[in-house]
Point group: C2
Chain length 338, copies 2
């Protein structure tokens, strides 16, 4: 009882008593088919349980009907950051109506980068979504060279030449710091993100601008960059406390780093928010469960995922149509840490 081989378009054509081409036309919804022919073909398809071979189709159309979501990140992050899950959800939502499949590629080291390069050069996807880009990331340049439709979540620098989408990091950070100022805080430090990423720089810039707008002097020794991890947030907090024992507020560029800061503050006997107020960024699940719950800047991560996907689909449909740059709004969610 060997499994009979899958029916092809020829089998269907024979069964329906029409030519190969007519079957193809029915499959692709061409209007140039008589009603009888269409009915016969559809009946044959149903009887045979025919499913088109998309590989064969790809070969001739040179479309793969799939896109890649590339996450060039040391493995530590995908775990700790709800960010990626939310992006994935947004992407998947945007793809739901289409026939397009999502490939997920984690790039952790040089070897995986080379492998991805070959993969992209072979055009095994129609387009690429790139998430969490670093300033000197080789991938965006490569994609530009290959001429593969690409959209970034984030950007290499404010002068980004590729299509990209990001949230209003500067505005969000400003709102956070303004909120701390309104609460009467005067010694406001910041745990910045990695400075080789635009997110890191932009949120830091927001901190600076808010202070400047309020007529405060900007003391650069109140800045301590970290790597978006909890442990990084902890040691940044430690360094800040050493330099400025009298600080009374911290703006952390991510919730996870803020959580690390909270732990460190507790270790030093500082009460939050009484002695030190803390604001995070992301408004992730972590923010709701820290002790005390974190005031945080909400960014619409899922919407970022949806938007980059929509832009990419448009770019695939009409390549080189236009450079798109979308900025999504943030909002401040106030909880008990301020």
């Amino acid at each position: 009882m060997g499994a009979t081989r899958r029916p092809t378009i020829k089998t269907v054509a024979a069964r329906a008593g029409v030519g190969r081409t007519t079957v193809s036309r029915v499959l692709n919804g061409s209007p140039l088919v008589s009603d009888e022919a269409r009915a016969a073909v559809q009946a044959a398809i149903a009887e045979l349980g025919y499913v088109p071979n998309s590989v064969a189709r790809s070969l001739v159309t040179s479309r793969t009907d799939s896109i890649a979501l590339v996450v060039p990140e040391s493995e530590s992050r995908l775990g700790s950051e709800p960010y990626f899950s939310a992006v994935i959800r947004g992407v998947s939502n945007a793809l739901a109506g289409t026939q397009i499949q999502l490939l997920l590629t984690l790039v952790r080291d040089r070897r995986e980068l080379d492998q991805l390069t070959r993969f992209l050069a072979a055009r095994r996807v129609d387009g690429v979504l790139l998430v969490s880009v670093h300033r000197d990331d080789p991938l965006p340049g490569l994609l530009e060279e290959l001429g593969l439709p690409t959209v970034l979540a984030g950007r290499r620098s404010p002068a980004e030449s590729l299509n990209h989408v990001h949230s209003d990091n500067v505005g969000g950070a400003r709102a956070a710091v303004r909120h701390l100022l309104e609460r009467g805080r005067s010694g406001i430090a910041t745990i910045a993100g990695p400075l080789d990423m635009d997110v890191g720089n932009s949120r830091l810039r927001g901190w600076r601008e808010a202070l400047r707008d309020a007529g405060r002097k900007v003391d650069e020794s109140l800045v301590e960059p970290a790597d978006f991890t909890e442990e990084g947030g902890r040691s940044a907090m430690r360094a800040l406390l050493e330099r400025h024992p009298g600080l009374d507020a911290v703006f952390a560029a991510s919730d996870v780093m803020a959580a690390g800061a909270l732990a460190e503050l507790r270790g030093h006997g500082r009460r939050v928010p009484d002695d030190v107020a803390v604001v995070g960024f992301d408004d992730s699940i972590v923010a709701r469960h820290t002790d005390p719950p974190l005031t945080s800047v909400r960014q619409p991560v899922e919407e970022i995922g949806r938007t980059i996907t929509e832009l990419l689909l448009r770019e695939i449909e009409a390549p080189g149509s236009a450079r798109h740059h979308v900025v999504l709004p943030t909002s401040l969610v106030v909880r008990d840490s301020t």
Copy 2:
């Protein structure tokens, strides 16, 4: 300056002064090629920047070199549960050495299920990883019917017929409850997972067995199932407190539900762990940041991801080789909630 079309195997053959087949042999590492021919081909490949067209290859080999990770889950979960991220990381790790690509498919509703069904029937992947299976999930049966290599993370029931991997849910739950008993607690309730999932049932069974082993009477009104969400954990806790105002311990089948329970307990003025001790399951990032930090059952989620992938690759290589069933160990991480 129109982009010159990609070189094919024919171009390479001409350039190297050999036949198509010889190039193919070099590409596939056949030993039946002379050293000179091989060198000439490799030179030509390098000069032309030739990259094999994997779609054409797929057409003839009928292998796609990709597998799908299917997450049949209402969208609320992928976000809140670090579980999925960890699985993905494990899968990606196991795939790192291979040429195999990972497709991520979220199945949220009937329409997406139909779409996936067609996709799988078209054999657009070589195998499928299925995560978070419900008892009456149609997908496992479909996959069995299609004869597509499949491995489950979790199982439909203890009698699962497909290859599957899961952690020792019963043992983990037993350890949690035993720990509560050792702490001198006597009114131990449980917020169970969904009872249409084996994880839910197994963890509940562990709760029952631990009580029985200790010679306690098992009071079924101390059981309240929920849906693995925070809000679900909250209302389950509320129901339990109503029925048993005197309970002094809760075992929740997930950290997220435990976090909901903590919030509800706080609302009722109960102190944790003084009045009520709480244990979670997963040892996710959430457990470390709740107030107080959660005692939790750790399960090796990343390893689950790695293992299901390894099994799947083996199954693809040698179909029907054997039914595999792997159980991975859990361990208890004690923090301040007990």
